[in-house]
């Protein structure tokens, strides 16, 4: 370590230090994760509006395009837009036949359908990034800007209906089915009692070649209501198959399994 090394080190670390200090001297803004909000049926308009406002100005990112500024990317929602008033004032008149609430909800979830004037179709569908509660909270907030809030707890789907794989059952202690690959699901679930692709346990009828024996509809019914019918030679086992698959599968999982099995010739 000579004088040169020290000087070089000084220059290098000094420069790094200056950059770090400059970056720390400016206002520090952290981009937070959108708050997961869960509302019951008894939610008040004020709660919805407050949550919606937080999303609108924060994690939802709406304010970046819909604020009052020249050359904004979307129509101004916050204050008067072209003399038509704020969004809460004009939302009911935008599309004939749609009331304010309906119009706003559609605009958030299918933004390209109700483009305002000549704005480009650039808005992402909000239900991809927000849960239904959040979307409805934003609707409520927009209504509150100059209009009357008509969103109520009744509009918001409850946890059960909106929940993902086996949401309601999960609470009751019945596990959902994991995975979305039909082969995987069949192996995990059905092969416990049915022969399948060289594996499984021989209890119920084998699944190999099932498509040749049953239509897709019959397969679907057999999964959802196992007691409704029975294959020839397996009458003894009527009622043995659990009737819980309808609850444990998501619709996507069920359909993928049905179409997979009906394709087995």
């Amino acid at each position: 370590m000579g004088a040169v090394d020290l000087k070089v080190g000084g220059v290098v670390f000094g420069t790094i230090l200056v950059f770090t200090l400059v970056a720390n001297a400016i206002p520090q803004v952290q981009s937070d994760v959108p708050e997961l909000i869960a509302f019951g049926a008894e939610v008040t308009a004020e709660e919805l509006v407050a949550a919606g406002e937080g999303l609108f100005e924060g994690a939802g990112g709406c304010i970046a395009c819909h604020a009052e500024s020249a050359g904004a990317r979307g129509p101004n929602l916050v204050t008067d837009y072209q003399g038509e008033g704020t969004i809460g004032q004009r939302c009911g008149d935008r599309i004939p036949g749609l009331d304010c609430k309906e119009y706003l909800y559609q605009s958030l979830t299918l933004p390209v359908d109700h483009l305002v004037d000549d704005y480009p179709p650039i808005m992402p569908a909000l239900d991809r990034t927000m849960n239904p509660q959040q979307v409805w909270a934003v609707v409520a907030f927009l209504q509150s800007l100059g209009g009357e809030v008509t969103v109520t707890g009744a509009d918001i789907p409850t946890e059960d209906a909106a929940g993902d794989a086996g949401g309601g059952l999960a609470a009751a202690g019945i596990p959902g089915v994991a995975g979305s690959d039909p082969v995987e699901i069949v192996n995990q679930e059905c092969a416990l009692c049915h022969l399948f692709a060289g594996g499984g346990i021989e209890l119920g009828p084998p699944l190999d070649g099932l498509g040749a024996r049953m239509t897709a509809d019959e397969i679907r019914i057999s999964i959802l209501e196992p007691g409704a019918g029975v294959s020839e030679g397996y009458e003894e086992l009527l009622g043995a198959m659990p009737a819980t698959f309808g609850d444990r599968f998501t619709a996507t999982q069920l359909e993928s399994v049905v179409s997979y099995l009906s394709g087995l010739e």
Binding site: G2, V4, K7, V8, V11, V12, F13, T15, I16, L17, F19, T20, V22, A23, N24, I26, P27, Q28, V29, Q30, S31, D32, V33, P34, G61, A64, C65, G71, R73, I122, M123, P124, R128, T129, P175, G179, S180, D181, Q188, L192, C193, I201, L203, E235, E236, L237, A240, T250, T252
Partner: protein
Amino acid sequence: MIQDRSWAGAGRWLLSAVVALAAGLLLAETLVAQAYVPPDYGADFPVIGSRAAVWIVAQVHLMFAAFVLGVPMFAVIAEAIALFGGEDRYDRLAKEFTRLLLVAYSATALLGGLFVFLLTTLYPALWSYLSEVFRISMWMYAGIFFAESATLYMYYYGWDQWKKGRAKLGHWGLGLLLNVWGTIALLIANSWLTFMMSPPGDLTPDTSPATVQFWSAFANATWMPINVHRLIANAVFGGAIVAAYAAYRFLKAKSDEERAHYDWMGYVGNMIAIGVFLVLPFAGYYLGREIYEFNQQMGVTMMGGFMSWLWIIQAFLIGVLFLAGNYYLWIGLGRIPGGERFAPYTKWMLLVLVVGVIVWATPHTMIADRAELAAMGGTFHPFLQPLGVMSAKNTAVNLMILTTFLSFLLYRRANKNPTVSWARTGTLSQGIVLLVCALVVLFYGIAGYFVPAIVRIGFSVYQVLAVLFTIIAVLVLDILIARGAESRGDIRWGRMPPRSQYALFVLVVTFTWLMGLMGFARSGIRQHWHVYEIVQDTSAYAATPALGYAAQIISASVVIFFLMLAFVFWIGGMIAKPALVPAAADAAAAEPVPGGSPGRSGSGADRGGGLEPGLEPLPGT
């Protein structure tokens, strides 16, 4: 079955036994599943946390990778100059680059391994998702490294073996192959991270990763722009690192020959870094446009949202780059006979640069306290507000590019007396083209205030095109003017004050830090998503950190990188001393033609093109 009750009874018993067994199996299955459910996130990394650990290792790995990919690019170019132009010292330069490469290469691989282990242990769910989608390319990626290592070893250790004739050509081919492997590795790795930024549009959070079409995930929306951007940036980075290496050796040099060699090497490295750097903004523009196209919200988050201050910091860093780069060139005028003619002009160019940096770094929304806000009547300053918008910044940066180019022109011209008959007219027209270009840039900059945003964006393209055209036209004119020019004397390589070398260190640190900052910008716009809008980050580190924290992580990465690099340089210095004595001998052998004869200088210009000033042979002393 109805008649035979006992049988039925036995059957029922059997049935219930089987059902119980099945239920038991099911239960066992569930129990097993409950006993081990793979977690979304591994245990938190001690002290700094999982995110910072992955961040730092990825960043340092990336810096080494950029170096390892950037250096072969001009090792090959330098070898080609030696091979086809007969400039032997370029060959030694190429070999010296490659020696650094050898050590840096293993550091890259080690860091890459560490990175993968951190990902699998800290972010297992994300890792398994990505490996479901990309497993084929991951195997290929690993395979590429065998090929690349083999090529690299043959390239370096065969240097003295395959020295002459066709064998030398074959050796150069190895160098090309090395670049091919490196580029393929880059393309593969880029697809992973761009997939996380811009997954194909038909993907939803419920799509099983195993069913994702490989090619649509691989060639996603931002893949190509990132490839272009990173390739260019790697060349810049490699050049800057080589310049820093040369600067270090220069400062440590014991003899004049050594100083001359490393001065020249630093000059070449810096020239490549700054020259290629001027193209980088265009690649960045392409990337930005694709991001906007992919998802408008992502683009807005990047440019206008919570990251808007990041660009002020970026402006500050690029201002440092411009100032340091020009500073190095201006000091360099001192070692060129005739350079003193241009010394008086540097202060005017400096003025343009300083004003340019001031304009570029002017924030639109200013940081002010209550009293200051009251005085301004808002967060926009009534007089300075026009400087905060894009028009002003584009104008400033284009004028800074032109100024840097002018510095370079003066540097080229310093030791020449043009002899072509139209030299005066030529120089005059160079001046006119530059002036007209500056006026065009200014015109569109000012006109940008009076047109809607959409037209204004078009204006910035005109500005860029004017600058590109000017650079090419003026450079071609300059090369023609320099044909057969009389020399005022050779460049006195090695006659540089030490502070010029420290400027090279500032350059390389700034480049590296800038790389980290841009990496944060690219990765931060995903916000709380691992894979944008597909796989959500639900860990404790889901929030995108503020700039100050990011700066600390970037600085930590840069410090670690330079400490490791110092080790690489140290080892690089131990393997072998560069063959300087032959260099002097070569130069002496070439000496019979007296230095500064018109013919020699001219032939140098023909061969070297843009790097012409570097082509003067080493001083024989």
